[in-house]
């Protein structure tokens, strides 16, 4: 017997000065928020813009604001987030809106580059493979943050990003911390200088909005605390 229930969905249309459009969508078993958005585009209005790729929580491209909270929509079940039979879907906060549900991720990834989030190899290629033992402190610290999929949920959830547009944000700083703990990397002096100060790790208030919302259960606040320790040690040793 078909499910007769419906969902009232308020979906953002346009850019910053846009508006919410209300669409009635059929309820389905195990329906995700991404399923709802896809239904609207296929059956109601083909001009609705949104972004997705893998649909299994790997690519990090489908993050949106769902009922006021940033979430990965492909793995967010409607049953868990709908308030009664209503759902509000908007683009990620703290980023410019390209159109409808598509946020411009350029400022987010530009900050990864500013935080020196790129691996810096030795100038001469090593002849042997590096051995990185899994039980070392550095490897475990890197492992704790390495599964980031770059979805931007933490960036949208961060109050510091909201009031300090220069702040590098949880994801970029978490990335920097994984590289600080990569024993093969040689770029740490420049990296620690890049992540220190008012736009970097020292601006974090440790409110853990990033940790609360991260769909991969990463704790960027802990990574940022690690950067505070590392920059302090570097400053005391005169390496910063």
């Amino acid at each position: 017997m078909p499910d007769e229930r419906t969902l009232e969905v308020r979906v953002w249309r346009g850019r910053e000065g846009g508006h919410f459009q209300t669409v009635t969508v059929p309820r389905r078993a195990s329906q995700t928020v991404l399923d709802v958005v896809s239904w609207i585009q296929r059956h109601h209005d083909a001009t609705l813009s949104y972004r997705f790729a893998c649909r299994v929580g790997m690519c990090g491209s489908c993050a949106m604001t769902v009922n006021g909270k940033p979430r990965w929509t492909c793995r967010t079940h409607v049953d868990k987030v709908a308030e009664g039979d209503t759902l509000t879907v908007a683009p990620l906060a703290n980023l410019p809106v390209v159109k409808d549900l598509v946020a411009d991720m350029a400022p987010f990834f530009d900050k990864w580059a500013k935080a020196r989030g790129r691996f810096v190899p030795e100038s001469d290629a090593p002849r042997e493979f590096h051995t990185v033992r899994p039980d070392t402190r550095e490897r475990q610290a890197a492992d704790a943050g390495i599964e980031c999929i770059g979805c931007g949920v933490c960036y949208a959830a961060c109050d510091i990003v909201r009031w300090n547009r220069d702040y590098l944000g949880p994801a970029a700083l978490n990335r920097a911390w994984t590289l600080v703990n990569d024993v093969r990397d040689t770029g740490n002096d420049a990296r620690l200088a890049a992540v220190a100060g008012d736009a970097g790790c020292h601006a974090c208030h440790s409110q853990e909005g990033c940790r609360t919302h991260c769909p991969k259960q990463i704790n960027p606040t802990a990574s940022i605390a690690g950067l505070k320790r590392a920059t302090t040690a570097a400053a005391l040793k005169g390496r910063l």
């Binding site: 009031w163 300090n164 620690l192 200088a193 890049a194 220190a196 100060g197 008012d198 970097g200 020292h202 601006a203 505070k228 920059t231 302090t232 570097a234 400053a235 005391l236 910063l240």
Partner: protein, 112 residues
């Protein structure tokens, strides 16, 4: 301001906070003890005047406040307003000097 200076300011603020936690606790405990014991101002001063220990304690307290407050206020102002740069840094430096002067005056007053 360089990354090294910013980091050192952050460290100085955290370090002075640790000192303040101790100083404020001792200060408040002494305050409550003196008031509940019914000591008059003259009786309190008779205990603190000439006491190098109390002078040392309050000089440490004043030094911690002088380091802690301007750095914290600078951060708050940078977060809540658009004020940045050299004018803010110099104003906070002057604020620190003011706190040090007022604090030293009070510390010396209970000593001599």
């Amino acid at each position: 301001m360089t990354a090294r200076t910013e980091t050192r300011l952050w460290l100085a603020q955290r370090g002075s906070a640790a000192v303040l936690a101790l100083c404020v606790a001792v200060h408040l405990a002494t305050l409550i003890y003196a008031v509940r014991g019914g000591l008059s101002a003259a009786e309190i001063l008779s205990r603190t005047r000439g006491s190098a220990a109390w002078l040392g304690f309050y000089l440490l307290f004043v030094a911690a406040v002088t380091v802690h407050a301007p750095i914290g206020l600078r951060t708050v102002l940078r977060e809540m307003t658009a004020w940045r740069g050299r004018s803010l840094d110099l104003t906070m430096l002057l604020f620190g000097v003011l706190l040090a002067a007022l604090g030293l005056r009070a510390a010396l007053a209970v000593f001599a």
